[in-house]
């Protein structure tokens, strides 16, 4: 009951966030100088043509009416049609989304598999080989830009040692190198936080109690400390996952992957306003959903949060 109430509360907050974000997007786009109808119509268009395009785009009515329409469209998840291709924005996004999502999931899995164990190991055996290794890794991870790492990975593992394909997106194999490029820096952040959280938990008083009970080191570390450290780790991992969806734009460009990132990049080049609007709202919704999921997971892990 407590948990349910908490979830409902968080869900309402999620809806509110999306509402605010879409309102901001709506007005930001209106503030950008220039009439999109002029862009679409081109220089030679007649006034009638332009007016027709305005009607098609829905920019012929007052801003207030446009805003209400915009909100009702969002509620129905209808972002209109691309001004360039004429295809529905929904269809374009949903076509591309699975690839980006797969990439981000692979990236975050890589982060979790590498970063969390290494972070725990670094914290448990401080100033050991693993700790130094982790430190060097996290420094590098934060310093190396993902596009450069992507290029180097391609050069080494696709060109010099052809373990992975250079182009394409047909199989999981095609996504391994992009996922590494995407996850490398995120993993560094997760690693550092895991280490810090674990070190902090190991210095808490309840650890002394656990030791006084005669528990083994293994139980103390993994049953008692890790459980508490995970609260912080889950939060940061969720946020990193959100970043990855945005960060995919660059990596998709490097590996020529037809994902969401590339879609939006071209939409921006071509001033495809409906697609840009739809894309930003879509990303915002996904980001909010990830945060929502993190909140729920957080409250499951941390019994205290449900009450306060």
């Amino acid at each position: 009951m407590e948990l349910l109430l908490f979830i409902v509360r968080r869900f309402l907050r999620l809806v509110l966030t999306i509402l605010i974000i879409s309102t901001i997007i709506f007005f930001v786009i209106r503030v950008i100088p220039g009439d999109p109808a002029l862009v679409v119509a081109g220089i030679d268009a007649s006034d009638d043509d332009i007016q027709a395009i305005r009607v098609r785009l829905g920019t012929d009515v007052p801003v207030g009416v446009q805003y209400v329409r915009w909100l009702s469209d969002i509620v129905r998840f209808d972002f209109g049609e691309s001004m360039i291709s004429g295809a529905s924005v929904n269809k374009l996004i949903l076509e591309r989304f699975p690839l980006t999502l797969t990439l981000a999931v692979l990236g975050i899995m890589l982060g979790i598999i590498v970063a969390i164990p290494l972070g725990v190991l670094s914290a448990v055996h401080r100033w050991s080989f693993w700790d130094y290794f982790g430190m060097v890794y996290s420094q590098m991870g934060m310093a190396i830009p993902s596009f450069w790492l992507g290029l180097i990975l391609l050069l080494v593992f696709a060109v010099k040692i052809p373990l992975f394909p250079l182009f394409g997106s047909d199989s999981l194999k095609h996504l391994i190198l992009p996922a590494i490029a995407l996850g490398f820096a995120r993993a560094a952040v997760i690693l550092r936080l895991t280490r810090a959280a674990m070190v902090e938990e190991l210095s808490r008083e309840y650890i002394i109690t656990a030791r006084a009970k005669g528990l083994t080191d293994r139980m103390i570390r993994y049953k008692h400390a890790l459980r508490n450290a995970m609260i912080a780790v889950v939060t940061i991992t969720g946020i990193q996952f959100g970043y990855m969806l945005g960060g995919a734009i660059i990596v998709e460009q490097v590996f020529s992957l037809p994902g969401l990132g590339r879609l939006f990049l071209y939409a921006i080049y071509q001033r495809d306003f409906p697609l840009i609007q739809g894309g930003v709202v879509f990303i915002a919704i996904v980001f909010s959903l990830v945060n929502f999921a993190v909140d729920i997971l957080y409250s499951v892990l941390n019994p205290k949060i449900r009450i306060s």
Partner: protein
């Protein structure tokens, strides 16, 4: 019997050495409360962590001493064997239950994990035993309590849970480090009474560590007063409170405010407790002592029998001038 013999412990950090315990001897009998009273920094907590085998070395260093339980010296045991003692033979209760309980683990798990580990019980057996223990520590609500998280319980209940954890394996000895300091007076009395009744039913020896002489008065059979890493006086409760010998004990007792002293100035002890890095030579108390003479600055007073009554109760103190009076 649990005997601590001449324990000497330092903390070493680089060039600095802090002599935290300078030859502590204590003996704990079953079914008896032995209180260790002292101010902060006097070495109370170092003593308890050392008995539990939880002293981090380094920075801690055991210079000499023995802790003897069942004819074996705990200090010589390997970590693996020490773990068999911890929680099972000697258990511990801490000051702030809110911080010493794992916030994300159900209370039940925190009790049963010891039963499973030390007594080899199955999960179901352990839960049954945990329910019995809850009753023993005066917590009603059985399964509901086992299923709750620490933050869902009140301060007094949390301390009862701490005690439940400690007594779960029927330990011979319990070390209680300021177990009621964080509690309100009404709860404090309840917890003290609970500890006394558990002592009797489980035939358990308690080392009660406290700074509060009034609480010590209420709970102890035997009292040892610790100052700057040495026991300065040790005797039965009755002797200590009616016939204190060491000037430190006498001053401490006189400095406690109560209604009878209304209108008078309180007795004070000038200065402060020395820190372990700079313990004065000779008798460590000489810098604050009203009856100190030159010899106190140079010679460490021996611990000797000072009892005056004929009942045979031992009363030891470490002072060159036992019985000497002073003017305020």
């Amino acid at each position: 019997m649990l005997e601590i013999k001449n324990l000497n412990i330092s903390f070493v950090q680089g060039e600095k050495e802090a002599n935290a315990l300078r030859g502590i001897s204590l003996s704990l009998k079953r079914n008896e409360v032995h209180s260790l009273v002292g101010e902060s920094g006097s070495g109370k907590t170092v003593t308890s962590t050392c008995i539990m085998g939880l002293l981090p070395t380094p920075p801690g260093r055991i210079n000499s001493g023995q802790i003897i339980l069942n004819n074996q010296d705990l200090l010589l045991l390997e970590e693996k064997d020490q773990r068999q003692i911890r929680g099972k033979e000697i258990a511990m209760v801490f000051q702030e239950p809110a911080r010493y309980l794992n916030p994300t683990l159900k209370v039940g798990d925190q009790i049963t994990e010891m039963l499973i580990l030390h007594l080899g019980m199955s999960n179901i057996e352990a839960v049954d035993r945990a329910l019995e223990i809850l009753e023993l520590v005066g917590l009603e609500g059985g399964k509901r309590i086992l299923d709750s998280y620490p933050h869902e319980l009140s301060g007094g209940m949390k301390q009862r849970i701490m005690i439940a954890i400690a007594i779960s394996c029927n330990p011979a000895f319990l070390i209680a480090d300021e177990p009621t300091t964080a509690l309100d007076v009404t709860l404090q009395l309840q917890i003290l009474n609970l500890m006394l009744s558990l002592k009797n039913t489980l035939d358990m020896g308690i080392l009660f560590i406290s700074h509060d002489l009034r609480v010590v008065h209420d709970i102890s059979d035997w009292v040892s007063v610790i100052y700057a890493g040495r026991i300065v006086e040790s005797t039965s409760r009755k002797e200590l409170f009616t016939n204190p010998k060491h000037p430190y004990t006498r001053l401490l007792l006189e400095s406690i405010p109560d209604a009878d002293k209304r209108g008078q100035r309180l007795q004070t002890i000038p200065g402060k407790v020395p820190d372990a890095e700079n313990i004065p030579g000779g008798c460590a108390f000489h810098t604050r002592c009203p009856i100190a003479e030159d010899i106190c600055k140079t010679d460490l007073p021996e611990t000797k029998e000072v009892g005056s009554d004929n009942s045979g109760t031992s009363h030891t103190a470490a002072c060159h001038f036992i019985g000497k009076q002073w003017k305020n």
